[in-house]
Symmetry: C2
Subunit: 179 residues, 2 copies
DNA sequence: CATAATGGCCGAATTGAGTTCCGCATCAAT
DNA sequence: ATTGATGCGGAACTCAATTCGGCCATTATG
């Protein structure tokens, strides 16, 4: 059957809607991915094999990108967290800039809309290491300036949550949007 | 033995240095926590029971805070990522502000040093939902203004890495710090 | 409208991994 | 030098992951 080949090639997301049970599964596995399929099934109202089948599908479809250990930054000597805004001449996403990915201190790289071009989330051992990274950034052609926000305290830090807020409490003084 | 009780009560981090092997284990488990202890042991040069023992210790000590499923934001209808800077009157960390933790769209809350007070990482379904969250923030007493950085593209996003950069390539034009 | 086909679930059985136990080697302290 | 503690490896045991076959519901089809 050629159709099967087409299915495989077409897309990495084989278009399977995540239903309510899938969301519950994701919610459980985000909290703790070490539980048995027996318990997972029990929590979402499914038999162990059915739960297993669901999880397999979620992994195949890419909804579950990975299951990984979450490390305490202090345990690996990285107590300093900072967000670095970068302004560049021209278009910021140069290969030279992307090269900072090789530093394990860099956890996120985004291009953003706003009064800055790019945004980095970095975690270092101390201010010295942060300075080293900033120096490395300033050496990158095109980088005109950076602004760093050093985190004093983290009150919440969690992975992507499967739930969404259905209704936002609309303040009275706001007009209802047309669209 | 009273000593044992003391050990338990004293600290959640029983002061066990993470050595080189532990770091290798963490590196493997950050990438993929689903592998068997047999393979984990093989990759770090340990027998399966020894690897298991190490992992148990890393979990007990809190170095491994959790092992969780990493979800593709698109799969759960959250394609919009934004960083929100919040300026407040007085000290920002009020219980009213912390209440936004209840929204699953909010992934991170930090207090930062810089030209702003607090920093939020939020992930929403669309701009409408982001607006709803911002409206909710402006309704919070003490909040004077917010600045949002909407992410256009994410080029890197990964959990805490166990490795650290030992030597930062020092640019020539920088003086050597005294400390 | 009836019927075939698909997809998802459950229960039972098998395979494989997680886990425990015990002896040994290494290192530190007495 | 001896003793104690700690971490490792090999083998055995227990439990969970995985597979299989049959059932039911829903959807497509003649």
């Amino acid at each position: 059957m050629d159709a099967e080949t087409d299915d495989i090639q077409r897309n990495k997301h084989p278009a399977r809607e995540v239903d309510a049970i899938d969301r519950k599964i994701l919610g459980v596995l985000v909290e703790d991915a070490t539980i048995s399929y027996a318990e997972l099934g029990e929590r979402v109202g499914l038999s162990p094999p059915a739960a297993h089948e669901r999880v397999k599908r979620l992994k195949r479809s890419g909804a579950i990108r990975a299951t990984s250990a979450i490390i305490d930054p202090r345990a690996v000597k990285k107590p300093l967290l900072a967000f670095v805004h970068i302004d560049t001449r021209g278009w910021g996403k140069t290969p030279e800039l992307m090269a900072v990915s090789k530093f394990p201190e860099v956890e996120e790289i985004h291009t953003v809309a706003g009064d800055t071009c790019m945004l980095l989330k970095v975690r270092t051992e101390d201010t010295r290491a942060l300075e080293g990274l900033l120096a490395r950034l300033y050496d990158t052609p095109g980088v005109t300036s950076t602004r760093s926000y050093v985190v004093l305290s983290t009150y919440l830090e969690r992975p992507v949550q499967p739930e969404t807020t259905a209704e936002w409490p609309a303040p009275k003084h706001m007009a209802t949007p047309v669209y």
